[in-house]
Point group: C2
Chain length 201, copies 2
Amino acid sequence: MNFPSKLVEEAVGEITKLPGIGKKTALRLALFLLKQDENFTVSLAAALLNLRTGTHYCQICHNIADAPVCKLCVDHYRDKTTICVVEEATDILAIENTAQYKGQYHVLGGIISPLEGISPTDLHIDTLLARLQSGEVKEIILAFRATMEGDTTAFYITKKVKELNLKITTLARGVPVGSELEYTDEVTLGRSIVGRINYEV
Amino acid sequence: MNFPSKLVEEAVGEITKLPGIGKKTALRLALFLLKQDENFTVSLAAALLNLRTGTHYCQICHNIADAPVCKLCVDHYRDKTTICVVEEATDILAIENTAQYKGQYHVLGGIISPLEGISPTDLHIDTLLARLQSGEVKEIILAFRATMEGDTTAFYITKKVKELNLKITTLARGVPVGSELEYTDEVTLGRSIVGRINYEV
């Protein structure tokens, strides 16, 4: 593609680095910005920079937060005896949208995947174990994607927490196999969390 | 949707103002930025700001440019006797990609649309007439979308330049009626520019 200007080319280059955005869409977005008032781009850029530089991660559950501890962890109305362990903060959003769960969360920040070089030490498993050792927690829900990596991670955590005598549950297999939590519809995800089953190794 | 932080919510709010990006995609992009190195967001934001604040518009044809005059207008190898009049700079890109046209361009910056309140005075028609009055130009190609608005604009310009005795052509109607130039495939658009026809009012 022959871009009309270096600046357009550079902007398109940066925008196409975002997931799911190709050259045509990037060009369309760049030209859209050119047609808008300058303030539009200024506030977009500021919001992105503020997001990246100002976002905290909860010291307890590693969720995205505005403060050192996230709003779910400071909420006294939430059940402290159950922790739902998820891969990413987006999974918390998906589960919260079902309105079927009122316990705590723990974000691992990924999933065990030897193919991608992600080992248990790369994930927030240490802090999960520390939370469980306090004795307050009675149940953990392993809410991972229904793939080999999800099963591996669930297996690893189950072995790690075996001596704590917790109830270990996993989402009902209403979640379509091979798909990611984030895209599961709310009814399916809600049912799968209500009908969660004991995790058998 | 319950966003985990105000900063995420603000960023999602700004991103969804872009065309064709909904809340889910915006959230996905915001969380993607959080997972990347800080430099990623810094250079994305800088590229967008540079684009918006640093882009010039060609003094001659109103195309997007890095300098006061765009690279198509300063190119001595291009035919100075033909001007292709288009709605937007993206249309120039689309026509250039066909490699079937080696003349000049003129960007109107929109199309006459009474419904959207765009009148001829909102467009770069004055500067087009000034270019035509120099006497160097022998032909103008009216390359607008195949809609009522496109036809109206072509009709208006034809009436305006009648006394100059120019050859007035329009794209062959190989372009699907009702669609925009930007999305026409290169072969169809290339053929329609080669087989352009005299404009009959």
